[in-house]
């Protein structure tokens, strides 16, 4: 069964169609790039998968279920913006995540914080922006989830931090879990992707295995993206 499935999924904000009849299914064990320019509907799709929005029409299913309490147990979500209270420390957050999610692995989280020399006693407010983002990613990836939904995980960070984030994703997801990474920074992520989904103005314009695209077109996914979305 597909871990994530969209059937005729549409979402409108008033007169604006953010998603317009999206159909696709993602199998377990894949790392999928959800790629599209700003405003194409990536974040809307991810919020729908988390039950933060409800569809205007169609369906989005996680393991065959409508997003809700049961699906949140198996979905680990990294929002586009920081969602963590800044007065908390990483140590307090680990307690918080451990209480909320049965699949949270505190040992893994601790090891990752230690490797980055992040002081787990310090309040988030007193950490650098880069380190705050890393703490949030660590909390998300330290869950033993079935589906990771990462909304722009490499958006605002420097290239060294990007490498850290990508290697964290590669080393922490288990081979039966699925990772969906939404981004417009394709050159940085394309070597970790199994599949790519191009989304434009709320519609899926291309969905295929990354290596198959490169083979057929003799171009990198980054180049193909630039051609599909040429301004």
């Amino acid at each position: 069964m597909a871990i994530l499935e969209c059937k005729g999924l549409s979402k409108s904000y008033g007169p604006v169609r953010a998603l317009d009849g999206v159909d696709f299914a993602v199998a377990p064990g894949r790392i999928v790039g959800l790629l599209g320019p700003n405003g194409s509907g990536k974040t809307t799709l991810i919020k729908l998968a988390n039950g933060l929005l409800t569809p205007t029409a169609g369906q989005i299913l996680i393991n065959g279920q409508v997003p809700g309490i049961e699906t949140k147990k198996v979905v680990s979500y990294l929002p586009e913006r920081s969602c963590l209270p800044e007065w908390m420390s990483a140590a307090q957050l680990m307690g918080f995540y451990g209480d909320f999610y049965a699949d949270f692995d505190r040992t893994t989280a601790k090891a990752m914080l230690a490797r980055l020399n992040i002081d787990s006693k310090a309040r988030l407010r007193h950490l650098s922006k880069g380190n705050r983002e890393k703490v949030q990613l660590i909390m998300v990836m330290a869950r033993r989830a079935q589906l990771y939904l990462l909304d722009e995980p490499i958006g605002g960070v420097d290239p060294a931090a990007r490498d850290f984030i990508l290697s964290t994703i590669l080393s922490n997801y288990n081979p039966t879990a699925t990772v969906i990474i939404s981004t417009h920074l394709i050159a940085d992520v394309e070597r970790v992707l199994d599949d790519v989904i191009f989304i434009s103005q709320g519609k899926v314009v291309l969905a295929a295995p990354a290596d198959q695209l490169r083979e057929q077109q003799g171009k990198s996914v980054d180049q193909i993206f630039r051609e599909v979305f040429r301004c």
Partner: protein, 128 residues
């Protein structure tokens, strides 16, 4: 092993070539044991499924073999390694010829150039 990936070719095909080069050059000697798929994928910064696909392809070509529980090894069969060397060399010759033709070089010019370089090699200026 150094991993660099570029544009057009599929990543798995680039991994196949990189490992092949390491075997042919002796960096990975016959009988050497490879790291696990996950470790290699992490080192190369690629998806584990992609690494798995590349290693399976190298097994299919006879350059690697798997012992059920003990891991994956470089073949000890010199003939297979020689064939891989010829195949890689063929690829470089192909690229060389394509570039030379674009420059408008005749076969005789190319041979002169190659011989000049060979002489340099013989005089020990090649830094080998």
């Amino acid at each position: 092993m150094e991993w660099r990936f570029e544009g057009g070719a599929p990543i798995y095909a680039q991994i196949v070539d990189a490992v092949k080069l390491a075997i042919v050059s002796g960096e990975l000697p016959p009988g050497a044991r490879l790291q696990g798929v996950r470790e290699l994928a992490l080192e190369a910064g690629v998806n584990p499924n992609t690494m798995q696909r590349a290693l399976s392809e190298l097994e299919r070509q006879g350059l690697l073999y798997t012992l059920r529980t003990a891991g994956r090894y470089v073949t000890g069969d010199e003939a297979v390694i020689r064939a891989a060397r010829r195949e890689l060399a063929g690829g470089y010759v192909d690229a060389f010829l394509t570039a030379m033709e674009r420059l408008g070089m005749e076969k005789s010019d190319m041979i002169k150039l190659l011989e000049a370089d060979t002489r340099r090699y013989e005089h020990g200026n090649f830094g080998v």
